[in-house]
Symmetry: C2
Subunit: 154 residues, 2 copies
DNA sequence: CTGACTGCAAAATCTTTGCAAAGAC
DNA sequence: GTCTTTGCAAAGATTTTGCAGTCAG
């Protein structure tokens, strides 16, 4: 995993090159996603920052604006959940896809060489210029399956 | 592709078994998705029905409620687009995945045996009980690529 | 008849925008 | 200083809900 200091430098560089400003709020959001690997809604990020930095006021609008900015810059990526918003995660990890448990909502990441390769082939076959892809496997994770069993046996 | 009459029977059966009622509105929405293969937002469906059946009033709420019902019944499936809602499509086709052009928004469907198989293997490996999956390849379709070329050359 | 369904409008979510004040460079 | 960013609140956009009337079975 990339070092936080290196990440910060990269972030500052992107900021500078775009003629934008480097602010505390932006850093905190990047830092939060870096430190807490996982998938968060804008609101979760906002709430967490409010708790961690009670003396700072960060508006939810800023979180949205920053996440959009960070996504454009490639520092974070998002994953959609139906109509009910997006979740964001730190984006400079190796590309991966997601398994989503529809019972507890937990998201597990995976990477599979065969799938990656096949996707390129599919896109190439029809002259589609692939820039990105997402894959979600939806189902029930092992611990939720166990829970169900337990409940049935009791 | 399944016959419309057969589909209707199946739909009526599902309705009856759930103790629900068979209404004109529900039929029209099923019919619309059957006749117009493609991917539609609830609003698009609502607008289209308003035009096709000017003498019927179908509330947007009914479209939402019906789509949820139909999705639960497996007659339609949905594909999410970030925070900006879902699109629905007729769901009794053979399973397939999507290529989404980020310029014109056109959705192309594909089915790939290798990917399907690999997904099962990934889920099995970690004891994840897969019930569904979605895969989106995002990029630029051939005609949008051509447009860009044309624009650059002119 | 009874209970489900509908349309409407209001409410609830989630996200974006306008604006004056504050902050980065 | 200049121009961007921020927080707030208001506005938008999308989806859901409450309710009285309507309709299917």
């Amino acid at each position: 995993m990339i070092d936080y200091d290196v990440l910060l430098e990269q972030f500052k560089l992107i900021i500078k090159e775009s003629g934008l400003k480097y602010t505390k709020q932006r850093e905190l959001i990047v830092k939060y996603l870096y430190d807490n690997h996982g998938h968060f809604t804008p609101e979760e990020i906002n709430d967490a920052l409010k708790i961690t930095y009670p003396d700072m006021t960060i508006g939810i609008a800023t979180v949205y604006r920053t996440l959009t900015l960070l996504e454009d810059a490639g520092l974070v990526t998002s994953i959609s959940f139906g109509a009910q918003g997006k979740k964001y995660e730190f984006g400079l990890k190796k590309h991966h896809d997601h398994l989503v448990c529809k019972q507890c909502g937990i998201i597990t990441e995976f990477y599979d060489e065969v799938i990656e390769k096949q996707q390129h082939e599919i896109a190439n076959k029809i002259n589609f210029k692939m820039t990105d892809h997402t894959m979600k496997i939806i189902g029930v994770c092992q611990s939720c399956q166990n829970l169900t069993l337990t409940r049935n046996n009791s």
